[in-house]
Symmetry: C2
Subunit: 330 residues, 2 copies
DNA sequence: CTGTTAGCGCGTTCAA
DNA sequence: TTGAACGCGCTAACAG
């Protein structure tokens, strides 16, 4: 096992000074014949700069930290995928951390990112996180909030949750249903709160009372839904606020032994692979995840380059109602 | 924006030498009253060691690189999730890179991991990758191959693909079917080749001819499947070699306008969330992903600690046949 | 057990 | 334009 080559090894072989090698590699003009010699030496030794040394010297690491609740979930796995592609494309690498909605873990991750001196952070914060929580650990690192509100003082990218839920509800209303229930576990999550607000907006607009079903976890939610369906005043249609929510609605129908014709009309969120393939095909609000990832990184790199305006930017991208059949459309 | 505190700042405040601070932080015994002073100074300055400096000094980064084809896929997203949890738990951080089955991108990623001086690599190699390809870039970094064969000279963790496909096929055979077709796109992927072998083993054992349907991509595969179903000699049952494969089988049925009762019996691989919820519930080979992740990291850290035997270890974990109804079971 | 010193590999002064 | 010397923050070696 031989040591990796360093700038000085290259310099010696090319019979030049170390700083000349450094300059050559960074594209700063050097005399042509010297450039030639350096190039050959680099090639011969298989030299590649050591990022750890460069990081120490420059104080920048070309590394972006991403903290999300989890990745085993269609929404986040696609988001992570898109982010990774773009980060890569910009010559950086991504450190991925998951907090599982636990603030303690999130705090520990932020500390890790501080020690690793990441150049920027993409954060889907755990519920109840304040800017104070984050800034007390990471005072001066560019941050973009993704999918979860953190503060109006940081750049943020979201789906237009409220409007999306509003239009989904309006769609169900247009089918003539009035007893529309809105279901979610994890009601403390920002995006879901916004979606609940949008649902309520639509119900209120039609002088209808909101029927909100929430629970601490999906198993409990499913039980509540089943009980409600079997009660003497069952809902006529359902709005599920996430892909996992939709799955649990289906599972509830299944566990009640309902046939396809007995299924309640419903609309979900997100557009996982299976949505179009099950029976009935799911009508959903599709999030423009790729665009959201792109926007997030644009904001983040603007901060890193210091080419951003001082005030924080909040970007909201519209969801798209993908009308299939679960809502009742033919 | 004030500078982050360094060891020397702490040392000065605690009126001790820098190395004493370093030792205290690393758990090496120091005199109690000194420890006390250092602890207070650390606390007061909010000191946290700079990993980039430590990395340069030690040559180790406490960073693990993971390269997978993609993460927007139920199998890999869960694998990444499990790996991340364990890596975190061992006090390291994960760099995540995706190669999308492209060797050029994989090579570039390997180079990135070299420059970043990761302590270890988990690699799901792109098809046709040789050990030579990898080692020419990363000569001396511990590597574990996960889910894709690389070489018998590196530690590896796989599903028992061949046995799993064998038992899935046997199950379909036990239902009395003989014209069992095996479907996959991406037949060049190692795991799929193994599964094909297992399928063939079972068919051969019953003196039946294998019916292999492959295609360069899933859209083409789906077309071929539809044509085959509509031909005058349609298959009687299907074995899909991945979750995406199962999805495409369902989609083919759907696109042909087949009713549930016309669905061909079939068995898939992987156990995505929707598998149990669709109609019919999917019978699948479930991979023990969490255990596979655990095994992978155990092997990797054994290499990193140099507590591993010299020769490479190949671990194979058994899949589990989750019998639901799509196979024809009541 | 403690403090001083050197050097990991790089980029960046500052003379020449 | 070039090369020698310095220092980023840390830990290991050494002398006290």
């Amino acid at each position: 096992m031989k040591r990796r080559a360093t700038v000085n090894d290259v310099a010696k072989l090319a019979r030049v000074g170390g700083s000349t090698v450094s300059r050559y590699l960074r594209g700063i003009p050097v005399r042509p014949n010297i450039a030639e010699r350096v190039a050959r030496a680099v090639d011969e030794l298989g030299y590649a700069p050591d990022e750890t040394a460069r990081a120490l010297r420059l104080g920048r690491t070309r590394t972006i930290g991403m903290i999300v609740p989890r990745v085993a979930n269609p929404f986040f796995s696609l988001a992570v995928q898109c982010m990774e592609e773009e980060i890569q494309q910009r010559g950086c690498t991504m450190i991925l951390l998951t907090h599982q909605d636990r603030m303690a873990q999130q705090a520990s991750h932020l500390a890790t990112l501080l020690r690793c001196k990441v150049d920027g952070v993409i954060l889907t914060a755990a519920p109840a996180t304040t800017l104070q929580n984050v800034r007390s650990v990471l005072p001066d690192v560019p941050i973009v909030a993704f999918d979860a509100f953190l503060s109006s003082e940081v750049d943020s990218v979201f789906l237009g949750n409220r409007e999306a839920a509003f239009s989904a509800t309006e769609h169900l209303l247009a089918h003539g249903h009035t007893q529309i229930a809105c279901l979610t576990a994890k009601e403390h999550i920002y995006s879901y709160q916004q979606r609940i607000a949008g649902y309520s907006d639509a119900m209120t607009r039609h002088n209808l009372k909101s029927i909100l079903m929430t629970a601490p976890d999906y198993d409990t939610l499913r039980s509540a839904l089943k009980a409600s369906i079997q009660s003497n005043k069952p809902p006529a249609a359902l709005l599920a606020l996430s892909d996992v929510g939709s799955l649990n609605v289906l599972r509830a129908f299944d566990e009640l032994g309902m046939s396809r014709s007995q299924y309640l009309p419903f609309v979900g969120f997100d557009d996982p692979d299976f949505a179009a393939l099950i029976d009935p095909p799911l009508t959903v609000i599709r999030q423009p995840i790729r665009k959201m990832a792109h926007a997030t990184l644009r904001l983040l790199f603007q901060r890193i380059d210091e080419s951003a305006p001082h005030e924080a930017q909040q970007m909201t991208l519209p969801g798209e109602l993908l009308c299939r059949r679960s809502c009742g459309c033919a």
